[in-house]
């Protein structure tokens, strides 16, 4: 049946089609909808589809399933793979029985990530095959293929997507299929599943080398050879893969250039002999891939051009203009740049920065922290999630990676002990990677404050459930923190800035007395969380008394709620369409009390 699907939805259909019975992962843009969709479309089937506390955990749960013979998958974004990489490196030696698909969504162009890494590089590093789809329809096909290949060769197979595949829409022909329930059964095989160095692993390493050769051969026969047969034998050749192929194809069409293009569906492992002999027949070969020069590094030779020769851009997302420039650089094209803007854009406007939602409680916490723990005397490590946007309030000094706020707070407390270190982290991020560093900090008697902003949802990626939310009363954040041995203070958020500030004054007092990390659990809600937001947003809408506004900048630099902006008269004005009526600004953020209640 034809369906209009987003790339991530298409992948979910592909997985189900491939009889995937277990899927795990950790949410992260641009990957999150894969698991959510799978959950939805497999509702009445005997499958396991659940979020894990982090990517490594998710990987291992799903991998065990594949060892026991089921077809399984794990999903994550590219930075999540860093977390799961420990497990991946070993799994690649050991292999699997059922199909095991590792789905990673990359983010060329840094749309919502701290790095722009290319997961194909990780596949090469771990020595596992990787498939690189170009569009949602292909993502569907490749998800099925990945599972089949993984079964056939008994090795994890990566399905690497990018934001422009994961978050694109296209018509996808979803084939009919019958889901067959399999019973998992683990067959004891200690030398394989529990191979220890050196004897066991060494053998597996040789075996893997052999497998990779076979896979490269398979890739040649099934993916590459049919494509080579279609080539016309022009003077030059372009090699491309994944989403990059789409840009290349369109650019050539639009420039009217007739150059052979070879699309590589499996960028690793490559059949090197065959490709190298193909390359010899061409005068110049240009390799266009996103993001790193993975294929290029493998195929390096004198007539090969690309990122390494300086002819293709190396950072940021692909555009057709960039493809055109590369074509120019290597002399494939000599004409005009047809991708120039038609209009001179010399109008001055500023692009909108992302910001915490109107009414988001994180904003109040940051505001209060800065009021009580003054910036000059404090260090504010923070973490990955919506609250990273506290950067707009200048309430965040460092952002590294998931969970690092806790370990970095520890480090800062040693390195710069004249300052108070007050770190912030979300509940999901804490469960993901914050627990281990907290244990570390407790037994080493580090002294800092950690504020866990607990809104019981993974808000940034679309409000997936956290452990506490999914199993109320079972996983208890407070008990976890206490169990780690830290001191705990709990705050039940109220939309009243004075109360929040009062609370942090108490935190400051208590901090003087303790000898271990002091953890604040701030119980909040997310305004996008319909279940809880309603009771928390009181419907107190704000406006500004222009007489009282003295343009002191406090609200626009310290509080930064989206509706607030200066008007032509140099006074603050509130955009009524953006105000959600939390009433916090009226409760005392303005030194001259210029915010007042608006009668509807």
């Amino acid at each position: 049946m034809k369906q209009t699907l987003m790339g991530n939805e298409a992948i979910a259909y592909g997985l189900l089609h491939a009889n995937t019975q277990m899927i795990s992962g950790y949410p992260g843009t641009p990957s999150s909808e894969i698991l959510t969709t799978f959950e939805k479309i497999s509702k009445n089937l005997p499958v396991y589809a659940k979020w894990a506390t982090n990517e490594k955990v998710g990987f291992e749960v799903a991998y065990a399933g594949a060892i026991a013979g089921l077809n399984t998958a794990v999903t994550m974004k590219q930075v999540g793979l860093n977390v799961a990489s420990d497990a991946l490196m070993s799994a690649s030696f050991i292999g699997n029985k059922g199909g095991f698909v590792l789905i990673v969504a990359d983010d060329p162009g840094f749309h919502s990530s701290q790095t722009e890494q290319d997961s194909r590089e990780f596949a090469r590093f771990a020595r596992i095959p990787v498939l690189d789809p170009a569009t949602p329809a292909e993502a569907y096909e490749f998800a099925i293929k990945a599972s089949e290949l993984s079964q056939k060769f008994g090795i994890p197979v990566m399905l690497r997507s990018v934001m422009r595949v994961s978050h694109s829409r296209e018509i996808v022909e979803v084939k009919d299929f019958n889901f067959e329930e399999k019973k998992g059964s683990f067959k004891r095989d200690i030398p394989r599943w529990a191979a220890v160095p050196r004897a066991g692993r060494l053998g597996q390493a040789y075996e893997r080398e052999k497998k990779l050769k076979e896979i490269a051969k398979y890739s040649y026969e099934n993916f590459i050879k049919p494509e080579i047969e279609k080539l016309k034998g022009t003077k030059n050749l372009i090699i491309s893969s994944g989403a990059a192929f789409g840009y290349v194809k369109e650019t050539l069409d639009e420039l009217g250039l007739d150059i052979d293009v070879l699309k590589i569906d499996m960028p690793y492992p490559l059949p090197l002999d065959e490709l190298k002999s193909l390359i010899k027949h061409y005068e110049k070969v240009l390799i266009i891939e996103e993001t790193y020069p993975v294929i290029e590094e493998e195929l390096r030779s004198e007539n090969v051009y690309g990122k390494m020769s300086g002819d293709v851009h190396t950072i940021d997302e692909m555009t057709k203009e960039r493809v055109l420039k590369a074509l120019k650089n290597v002399g494939f094209y000599k004409g005009e740049n047809i991708y120039k803007p038609a209009f001179e854009n010399n109008f001055e406007v500023i692009s909108r920065k992302p910001n915490l939602c109107s009414g988001c409680p994180h904003r109040d916490i940051f505001f209060a922290i800065k009021k009580v723990f003054r910036p000059k005397k404090s260090i504010y490590p923070s973490d990955i999630g919506c609250y990273t946007l506290g950067i707009n309030q200048q309430a965040i000094d460092t952002v590294l990676c998931m969970g690092a706020s806790v370990s970095m707070a520890h480090g800062f407390s040693i390195a710069d002990n004249k300052k108070t270190v007050i770190a912030t982290i979300g509940d999901s991020t804490f469960f993901h990677s914050g627990v281990a560093p907290l244990i570390n900090a407790v037994y080493q008697k580090a002294k800092f404050i950690l504020v866990i902003l607990d809104n019981s949802t993974v808000a940034m990626t679309g409000r997936q459930a956290t452990p506490e939310r999914a199993a109320p009363g079972e996983v208890d954040l407070k008990k976890v923190v206490e169990g780690c041995g830290a001191e705990v203070m709990e705050y039940c958020y109220e939309p009243d800035i004075k109360k929040t500030i009062e609370f942090f004054k108490e935190v400051k007092k208590r901090y003087e007395e303790v000898e271990v990390p002091l953890v604040v659990i701030s119980r909040q809600f997310c305004v996008l969380d319909k279940e809880r937001a309603k009771e928390n947003l009181k419907g107190v809408f704000a406006t500004v008394d222009e007489e009282k506004c003295v343009a002191c900048d406090v609200c626009t630099t310290q509080f930064v709620c989206p509706p607030m902006a200066y008007n032509e008269k140099g006074k603050i004005e509130i955009d009524p369409l953006l105000c959600v009526g939390c009433g916090v600004c009226i409760s005392g953020i303005c030194p001259t009390d210029a915010f007042i209640r608006r009668d509807k």
Partner: protein, 174 residues
């Protein structure tokens, strides 16, 4: 046929909903298409621009000087995305004023109209789509087709969305 639409706005304005509507319309008509949208950071009130390319395309991103139609849910965001519009293209923008360009411009102050109570501000995206339907000559979809797509996405809100659509279709500037 080849037709490229860029929708510009900021997080929370319902850009993604419009991409969905247009993709479904294209699919129903049997047109090949590719559309793309931003999720994540940009949704938190930040700039969001989504592209949809109808016809024989292979990648979802529109390049400079290529868009047939630019729908701006916000004035500044429309300006930021002007480089994508082609000369003589169509431009439908929610703004009280807009620079005069070599393009077919349809400017409507939808924010003001929402504030005046003509429609619920949450339906701004649908109102702008109605404005497109009313003013853009070679827009590839009809009112009926758009309605069907809206209904397919969410039958529950279809009725209120249709009302907003009608308001846009009947709206006459004075």
């Amino acid at each position: 046929m080849k037709y490229q639409i860029l929708i510009a706005g900021f997080g929370g304005q319902g850009v993604v909903f419009l991409v969905k509507v247009l993709s479904i319309c294209a699919a129903k008509k049997g047109y090949k298409f590719l559309g793309t949208e931003n999720h994540g950071m940009s949704q938190r009130g930040g700039s969001v621009s989504s592209h949809i390319k109808i016809g024989n395309f292979y990648n979802p991103l529109i390049d400079y000087g290529q868009a047939d139609l630019l729908i701006g849910l916000d004035r500044d965001e429309a300006i930021l995305n002007l480089p994508y519009l082609k000369k003589g293209g169509d431009l439908v923008v929610n703004a009280s004023d807009f620079p005069k360009l070599e393009a077919n411009e349809y400017i409507v102050d939808a924010n003001q109209l929402a504030e005046d109570g003509l429609f619920d501000a949450k339906g701004l995206n649908v109102f702008m789509l109605g404005t497109v339907l009313k003013n853009v000559k070679n827009f590839p979809f009809s009112v009926e087709e758009i309605k069907e797509a809206i209904k397919e996405i969410n039958p529950k809100f279809a009725k209120s969305n249709f009302e907003i659509l009608e308001k846009a279709l009947n709206y006459e500037r004075n």
